[in-house]
């Protein structure tokens, strides 16, 4: 049984189709990537899993159990935690307050939150010295690290990360990707959404390629790296990539 099973989900924004009939599954401890151009529906899939958008049809199961219909905060207590695109850190709050909010579902115990914060900061030593800074003052790379650290505070069973490389220079991207590799190695399952296909295929074990709201290709990352269609669309030819968008 897979940890996370997404079965034939469709999402509409009004009359406009966001995604249709998407299925994939994620094994415990695995990193999978959802790839595709801007507007392919990758973020919509994460939003559906987080409960930000409603399913028109289909179902999502976590650990074999169907997710209860409901608002996003319930999904977080189930262990489905998302790092949204664009980071969405709380800029006017301090780094430490951001982390504390990440541990919000452990609302009953301040001690549990502090212990978790120590564990999380071990993975993010750079944030340690900046705990009392306003999060809005951090650099882009630090903000992305904070967004991931904040999500880790909730002890996710599945960590969903939406476009972590967006707007970062290559050096910072490496740092963020190393972090994600560490997180996966420590046993957290990761669902990664990326436009940067080459980068994502290096990290993930499997990937699904989305185009106009449906899955058009899927398989082992190693195989997809060599797949001509992926290469044509994303890794090499600029004209083809434009056509896919």
């Amino acid at each position: 049984m897979s940890l996370l099973e997404v079965e034939n989900i469709s999402v509409f924004y009004g009359a406009v189709r966001g995604v249709s009939d998407i299925s994939f599954s994620v094994e415990e401890g695995e990193i999978i990537a959802l790839l595709g151009a801007n507007g392919a529906g990758k973020s919509t899939v994460l939003k559906a899993i987080s409960g930000i958008v409603r399913l028109r049809s289909g179902s999502i199961r976590l650990g074999g159990q169907p997710l209860p219909a409901g608002r996003p905060h319930r999904r977080v207590s189930q262990g489905l935690v998302q790092v949204p695109e664009g980071r969405h850190i709380f800029a006017s709050l301090t780094v430490s307050e951001n982390l504390e909010l990440g541990g919000y579902i452990h609302a009953k115990s301040a001690r549990a939150r502090r212990e978790r914060q120590t564990e999380v900061l071990a993975l993010f030593p750079n944030l340690q010295d900046k705990l009392n800074q306003l999060a809005g003052r951090l650099s882009g790379g630090e903000q992305q690290a904070l967004a991931i650290a904040r999500a880790m505070m909730a002890r996710p069973r599945v960590l969903m990360v939406d476009e972590p490389s967006l707007g970062l220079d290559p050096q910072k991207i490496d740092v963020v990707y190393d972090l994600l590799a560490d997180i996966a190695r420590s046993g957290t399952t990761v669902v990664l959404v990326e436009q940067n296909v080459a980068l994502a295929l290096e990290l993930a074990s499997r990937a699904y390629v989305l185009q106009q709201g449906t899955v058009v290709l899927s398989g082992e990352a190693r195989a997809l790296e060599k797949d001509e269609r992926v290469a044509a669309a994303y890794l090499g030819g600029a004209p083809a990539a434009a056509a896919v968008g």
Binding site: S50, F90, L101, G102, Y104
Partner: protein, 302 residues
């Protein structure tokens, strides 16, 4: 000089009420970007709720009865908080995706519903009603100006409530959740924050503070009227804008400052000019410094 000190002291007393009401305005604005024009009418409703409870209990002298007054005050705070929560649940929440202007118009509508609702209750009606309990006239002189003990207690209670709100929003986890929701509702929900519950709580706190202000105000002035929330509401709104709306410290600074300006203004021009002074401040403020005195930190909205 002595006169000025007296005006400032009186201004602080007046401002203490503005602070309590402005906090509710400011917190709701911070979290929903809504200027809740019905907020002053929550205050008015609180006066009538406590009027009814006092009527039912049947006491008339505050001294020696203060524990009863305290209990009635607390019940009124809870009732007014509940009224604010109900208003959010029934009116503002279904409109959350609507344009802010629609929400503001709905708030004006609610204000009219509450005012005319009270007007049409025979026992309340359009006349000024004498509040069943009035605070005692015993007092003392502070820096040469006479104040009643009740006034001093009211300023202290307002101060404690304001400090309580400051602590709630600044230090507690639920307060941090309020600030998170104010800044980015979706991101807060992705942290596991129940956004609806947090918004309800903000309305509750705002309503409860208006309730406390209404009971104290009525105890002191001894009269209530169905339109009493209108002017006070706008004055408190002015105070919130003056300090920087959406900002807790701003509501406190703005409330006290408006109280003092109004007190000095009426000292110079006469009491009939008090409202003119208040709204003069609003107009000037919107003109020279629309973000309010603490406006640089407008990002730190709550």
């Amino acid at each position: 000089m002595q006169l000025l000190v007296g005006e400032i002291e009186n201004g602080i007393f007046l401002g203490a009420f503005f602070v309590l009401i402005a906090l509710g305005y400011s917190m709701v604005y911070g979290i929903l970007r809504l200027i809740n024009f019905a907020h002053g009418d929550f205050y008015m409703m609180a006066a009538y709720v406590s009027f009814a409870i006092f009527g039912a209990v049947g006491i008339s002298h505050l001294h020696s009865k203060w524990p009863v007054v305290l209990v009635v005050g607390l019940i009124t705070m809870i009732a007014t908080g509940a009224l604010a929560v109900l208003a959010e649940r029934l009116i503002y929440r279904p409109m959350r995706r609507a344009a802010l202007l629609s929400l503001m118009i709905a708030a004006l509508g609610l204000s009219q519903v509450l005012e005319n609702g009270v007007l049409n209750i025979p026992a309340w009606g359009s006349q000024y009603r004498t509040y069943p309990v009035t605070s005692s006239a015993a007092g003392t002189s502070i820096l040469g100006t006479q104040f009643t003990y009740a006034q001093i207690a009211m300023v202290i209670i307002s101060g404690l409530l304001a400090v309580g709100v400051y602590y709630l929003v600044g230090r507690t986890l639920i307060g941090k959740a309020m600030r998170a929701v104010a800044e980015d509702r979706v991101a807060a929900s992705l942290m596991g924050v129940n956004v609806d519950l947090v918004i309800s709580l903000v309305f509750f706190v705002g309503g409860a503070l208006a309730g406390a202000a209404a009971v104290m105000d009525s105890l002191y002035y001894g009269q209530i009227n169905y339109l009493m929330g209108f002017t006070v509401g706008l004055q408190a709104f002015t105070a919130a804008v003056l300090g920087g709306i959406g900002n807790i410290a701003g509501a406190v600074v703005g409330g006290l400052l408006l109280g003092i300006v109004e007190s000095i203004g009426t000292g110079i021009f006469g009491a009939e000019w008090s409202v003119v002074v208040a709204f003069g401040v609003l107009v000037v403020m919107l003109w020279v410094r629309p973000n309010g005195l603490l406006g640089e930190r407008v990002a730190r909205r709550m």
